[in-house]
Subunit: 430 residues, 2 copies
């Protein structure tokens, strides 16, 4: 049986695991694909560097462009990350009729359309299971298993770094800074943690998930994004006291009329009884609500060399089988053409803690302001007395615009000394 030739772009944490597994599992991969998979070349930045895996030096090249367009190459695996040169290389490969497997969430979320278009033109496959939630089989279920259902909402913990930090803050009472430092020491956070803690990584994944779940094209720029850097130990403790836990969530939800979608990444309080609340350390989990299937959850490792390589190899087997059968997997499905609505139109709930003057009539004036903005209050609790008096309010569902306007109004009320904390509440039926 003629082998299928595979070009690998990148030989870092994931790439080296891909090479190791292709080698160690060669016999199984051959049996599962129906033909051997042969490594045709590995594009790296520097030839001499020490690597985590043994690679035949003859396979290494710094000329990625020549590698991906080589006539004998059937499949290209891209694990470099970032926008360029990844985009140019993937488009070159697809245009030449190769199939591509990529883990590149940033590129897919910024310019997925260009890649899908190139796949269509070249008649090859573009698979990207590893781009969201690492090892967790999630994209294939969304684009295939649920193809006969209507997804209503996707609610996920898709960034392991921030989940590790928030979990530490929750379990040990640590501050954000201390928890981040611990995550960095343990290798869960990078030296520059911006992409994770500011929610950029999760936003890219949210865009990809929303596109698949709602059969539309969504880019990272359309995702409302808030990070976790402002979360204090007090916020975490106060959530805990109320039976909630704070998680950084990626939320993609269809509007009630089904015509638009809201896509957002922000910290939120969820009840401790929610399946996502039990997701500890750097694990990822994605909760999907579909009309017929009901509630589904997918849980596993969202990052790391071997878990990501597992997802890459699953895709590799699929695109290799497709090539042997002379066919392609499902294309990008954007027929529904739903638009992303502004954050203000998103319906959510709020938990707010107000430092107030402890005198009669305060609650009435605060309640009046909520009513003026058409925001209905679910619970209100007064804590402390005198200068320590605090009102803790949880609202019913309202548009984010109304909630934001209410918060602005509260800041201007003379009886409110400070809005101590504001946090959205999710995963709790109103």
């Amino acid at each position: 049986m003629k082998p299928l030739k595979v070009a690998l772009l990148g030989c870092g944490v994931v790439g080296s695991q891909v090479i190791r597994l292709m080698h160690e599992q060669a016999a199984d991969l051959t049996a599962r694909v129906g033909a051997p998979l042969e490594l045709a070349g590995v594009a790296v930045r520097r030839l001499g560097r020490k690597r985590d895996v043994e690679v035949d030096p003859a396979l290494l090249t710094t000329d990625a462009e020549s590698l991906v367009t080589r006539d004998d190459v059937d499949i290209v695996i891209e694990v470099i990350g970032g926008i360029e040169p990844a985009r140019t290389l993937i488009v070159s490969a697809l245009s030449k009729g190769k199939s591509v497997v990529t883990a590149n969430k940033a590129l897919l979320a910024e310019d997925g359309g260009t890649l899908h278009e190139a796949a269509r033109t070249g008649n090859g496959d573009l698979y990207f299971e590893a781009s969201v939630a690492g090892a967790i089989p999630l994209l294939r279920p969304l684009r295939e298993s649920l193809a006969g259902d209507h997804v209503k909402r996707v609610l996920g913990i898709v960034n392991g770094t921030t989940n590790y930090i928030l979990d530490k803050m929750d379990s040990s009472g640590a501050s954000f800074t201390d928890a981040l430092e611990e995550a960095q020491t343990l290798g869960y956070a990078e030296a520059d943690p911006t992409a994770d803690v500011e929610g950029f990584d999760a936003a890219a994944k949210a865009a990809i998930l929303a596109g698949l779940a709602f059969h539309s094209r969504v880019t990272a720029a359309e995702v409302h994004r808030e990070g976790i850097t402002e979360i204090t130990a007090t916020d975490v403790a106060s959530a805990k006291a109320m039976g909630y836990v704070i998680k950084l969530l990626a939320i993609c939800a269809r509007s009630d009329d089904g015509r638009s979608v809201g896509v957002r990444v922000h910290p939120a309080m969820i009840p401790r009884s929610h399946p996502l609340a039990g997701v500890r350390e750097a694990y990822n989990a994605v909760f999907v609500e579909a009309e017929s299937a009901g509630q589904l959850m997918f849980y596993g490792k969202g990052a790391g060399g071997a878990p990501t390589a597992s997802a890459v190899l699953g895709d590799l087997v699929a695109v290799a089988r497709n090539r042997l059968a002379g066919t392609r997997g499902p294309e990008e499905s954007t027929y529904a053409e739903r638009v992303v609505h502004p954050m203000g139109e998103t319906v959510t709930r709020c938990h707010v803690a107000l430092d107030v003057a402890d005198k009669p009539g305060v609650l009435a004036r605060v309640a009046d302001l909520f009513a003026k903005h058409d925001v209905s209050i679910q619970t209100v609790r007064q804590e402390g007395h005198g200068d320590d008096a605090q009102l803790v309010i949880v609202t019913h569902r309202a548009t984010d615009a109304a909630l934001t306007a209410t918060m602005e109004g509260l800041r201007e009320l003379d009886i409110v000394r400070a809005v101590a904390s504001v946090m959205r509440v999710e995963g709790d039926d109103d």
Copy 2:
């Protein structure tokens, strides 16, 4: 675009939901498939019966055999269940080159080989996502997403009825009989609950999961099966006191040398911190451990008309796309040809409660018996005194044969008045 014609076998709980969804979601299905799906006929047992869904009477027929072999039919959906006439009809359809979507776990687990062979000969697809864990996308992830990985173990709650019963016993202290009665009243258990409570349903699913996970053919007859009818309120309370919960588990595990697999269904104690412990009511969840991916979990509704129909429709879209593209999905993969080893070779742990005589030397003699069978003890605790004295022992990992021999030996010891309970312990690293 020429429509693809679909024949439906069965119009019960699942079938009527399939009809409803095909109708309600016609536009979406057309967009996702690339051609309309048209219901060509519905085979039922009795024509006049009242149904949960409106069906054009002209579509109804009692002649299923003629329907599935009709030249204009492209795809057959089988939701009758049971061995015959389902097997004959599916084989007829596949032999005629149709693709088949089925939810029939009993048939797949008893004689899947015949169906897969017919699919191969007829060059059609055989998809069966709905046969295990209802709406949860599980089979496609196992056979496709993890195709580049090595599954080590599958540990699942795959029967909603028994999970509902055990959950009630755990949360309310009810007896098995009372919990079963409640499940029957609420429609979670059938009037004759044998298939569920004796583990037959879970055993069929375990056989299907083991076959997919380990690329081998496994039948229900090869699955070691124990039901939950002997579980007492005392067992449940005693597990609870130790931080465990009793679940009916389907466990498929590769042997250490990788050459054989153990496939079993039995009640087991799992730690409350295990992700499966939190699976409440009639929900299903399946925990998968793979070499590279690590620990994964899939959670959702395991039964019910609409959830099962969601899985059926996902498969319908896939096989319809394949037909349009003139291709087939992945075939049965049994190349690894692993055999199922006897239960005695399975490695597990045991929790055992012994009513003993409260006198010096008892523990020494009990410990000696464990040692003689090469079973090492992890913890031992004495409870009560005098005639109420009980030894509660948890073992380290040992073969089931050694554990069984130890239990038999204990029953013969004169200082042991009774072996009050024996339960395997899973999901806890030794």
